[in-house]
């Protein structure tokens, strides 16, 4: 099999994931995640989509929330579980091997917060729509949707500049992880499209990284 070179690299990806990401983002991701999680309150039910090694899920659990983290990558989840154990959070956070396509098994109006970091950019177009629709269904009226992800910048100049900067990084990331990501376009419109009301949007990194907070409206408007 000629793909063996790439597989070899992939093989070691989950173990190196945390460190690799920190190096690639110069620690900026950490502060973005801290800001997002500041919306989570003690005792709330939280769902983390594509939780990976648990960056958002564990932060939320540390704030006293009851968290479920889902991901399709069992090796990532193993690391996440280990981290939960090390942090003494095993009782409040639960990691499940499950894709966003299985969100239809979740109860309606169940979560106070549905969150996701850097996962939407790995989804196919159909999955992204599906994930948002399901998020709208399973979050309680008045509950929050918290997203942090790579987005396509709004203006042409920034898009071009970003594209140039991104290319070498994308190649490194590709060699590293064997996957490419697609920066999400029109994320706010998509979030509003399924019925959420936007609360705040913060753009960083030349408009290519978005932190988004949205609320599911309570029955008769807000």
């Amino acid at each position: 099999m000629s793909m063996y070179v790439l597989m070899r690299i992939l093989e070691s990806a989950p173990g190196r994931y945390d460190k690799g990401l920190r190096v690639l983002t110069f620690g900026r991701l950490e502060s973005a995640y801290d800001r997002l999680v500041s919306h989570v309150e003690q005792g709330q039910r939280v769902l983390d989509l594509g939780c990976g090694t648990g960056a958002l899920a564990l932060r939320s659990a540390a704030r006293g929330a009851r968290v479920k983290g889902i991901d399709v990558n069992s090796q990532m989840l193993e690391i996440a579980r280990q981290k939960a154990e090390d942090a003494g959070l095993v009782d409040t956070v639960d990691f499940c091997e499950m894709g966003v396509a299985e969100l239809d098994n979740e109860e309606a109006d169940f979560y106070d917060v549905v969150m996701s970091g850097l996962c939407f950019s790995e989804l196919t177009a159909d999955e992204l729509t599906y994930a948002l629709e399901q998020a709208m269904r399973i979050v309680k009226p008045g509950g929050l949707l918290l997203l942090a992800d790579e987005v396509v910048p709004g203006s042409f100049g920034k898009r071009l500049l970003k594209g140039l900067i991104r290319l070498p990084l994308a190649i490194v990331a590709y060699v590293w992880t064997q996957t490419t990501t697609h920066a999400v376009s029109d994320l706010p419109q998509k979030v509003e499209g399924v019925g959420f009301v936007l609360k705040s949007i913060r753009l960083t990194n030349l408009g290519s990284f978005m932190e988004l907070v949205a609320r599911k409206p309570v029955e008769d408007g807000e």
Binding site: M1, S2, M3, Y4, L6, M7, R8, L10, E11, V72, S74, G99, V100, A101, E102, D104, T124, A125, D126, E127, T129, Y130, Q178, T179, T180
Partner: protein, 374 residues
């Protein structure tokens, strides 16, 4: 897509075969499908998608394109990049569930190393049928009530595919070589590239002459070495006599050609077996694994026979038993082990260690080291 477009996709896809090339995932309509039309699934390697569509001309069906990260079915499924999740995802999110009344999806047989029919059925209610290895056989497969003969189950290595393989090695090597020679050895650039293509073509076109003696172990290695030696000596003789015929034969120049052909042949031959669908990659000789059958657990249901790309199995449905009369052809893909519903199959290493179906389902081939548990 027009013929010209298809030809272009084919050529680019072949030359860059070793590089992933993604196409849009989701639901495609082939012809005019209705609520009872068959649902087929493939990977999102661009070349594959175009080939499947072409093979399906005249058929009314739905084609689901699952996210295999732009890699072909076999490599993606075996390497853990086309998984249960990816198939489940396209079934659930593409909208196909609203378009048909049945719940039966035809998957390419070569996906059986990484996608588990039973898990999908349990999680989604969709029943998996393992279709033919080659897209060209799909129309016949559909016409014959999904009966799949031995011919449709086996991988082949016909000259067309060997030609493609030759091109997909020669092209990237030429690119690298062109960059190197452009700097260090400019006047030899064109000749060097010609030599690469000729060597690749000779190597793959003459495959039937030596192919059947390849294999694992000492003999296989010796055959590989012999092929290498013959090709290298032949290349050197041709080049040297050409030089003498021109009456210009500086030893330094001939020496450089010797190193170049040696290196090029080395790169192409190091994983020759892995470049064919007929053998397992020769690069991990440490893992000569054997499939062992626990007759006590086997109920003769025949999933193994249905998914084995090398036709190793013979299942006796009347006596509810299976046997492996052609075990020597095994490429250690693991498909049979992954699919057996009774866990009657597992790998065994020469040292007697076993690798359970559970481990193989979890780690596939991408965690090569982990397959033999230490």
């Amino acid at each position: 897509m027009s013929f010209l477009g298809y030809a272009l996709v084919s050529i680019v896809g072949t030359l860059l075969r070793l590089v992933p090339w993604s196409s849009q995932t989701g639901l495609l309509e082939i012809g005019r499908p209705d609520r009872d039309s068959p649902v087929l699934l493939t990977c999102n390697f661009r070349l594959t998608v175009e080939r499947v569509r072409r093979a399906l001309r005249g058929v009314d069906a739905y084609l689901l394109v699952a996210n295999s990260r732009g890699i072909n079915v076999w490599c993606a499924a075996t390497g853990g990049l086309l998984t249960n999740h990816d198939v489940l995802s396209v079934l659930k999110t593409s909208g196909i569930e609203d378009r048909v009344d049945h719940r039966q999806v035809i998957l390419p047989q070569l996906a059986a190393t990484g996608v588990e029919g039973r898990v999908l059925e349990r999680k989604s209610g969709w029943k998996v049928v393992w279709g033919p290895v080659y897209a060209d056989d799909i129309p016949l497969f559909l016409d014959t009530q999904l009966k799949k003969g031995a011919g449709m189950r086996q991988v082949r290595f016909p000259w067309t595919e060997r030609l493609e393989m030759a091109a997909s090695w020669a092209f990237p090597i030429s690119v690298v070589l062109a960059l190197i020679t452009a700097v260090f050895w400019r006047h030899a650039l064109v000749s060097a590239i010609c030599v690469v293509w000729v060597l690749a073509l000779v190597l793959y076109m003459s495959f039937p002459l030596y192919g059947r003696w390849l294999g694992s172990g000492f003999r296989g290695g010796a055959v590989l070495l012999a092929v290498f030696a013959v090709l290298w000596v032949a290349a050197m003789l041709v080049l040297a006599s050409y030089a003498f015929a021109l009456g210009y034969a500086p030893w330094g120049e001939i020496g450089r050609w010797g190193v170049l052909t040696f290196a090029v042949l080395g790169v192409m031959l190091i994983d020759l077996m892995g470049s064919t669908p007929l053998y397992k990659s020769g690069l991990h000789e440490d893992r000569i694994l054997k499939v062992v059958l626990d007759e006590g657990k086997c109920r003769g249901v025949g999933y193994c026979e249905d998914v084995c790309p090398r036709d190793c199995y013979e299942v006796n449905r009347a006596q509810h038993s299976a046997a492996m009369p052609r075990a020597h052809q095994c490429v250690q893909c693991g498909a049979c082990i992954v699919q057996c519903p009774f866990d009657a199959l597992q790998f065994q290493s020469p040292r007697g260690e076993t690798i359970t179906p559970e481990t193989i389902r979890k780690f596939k081939l991408n965690l090569m080291g982990k397959r033999v548990e230490r």
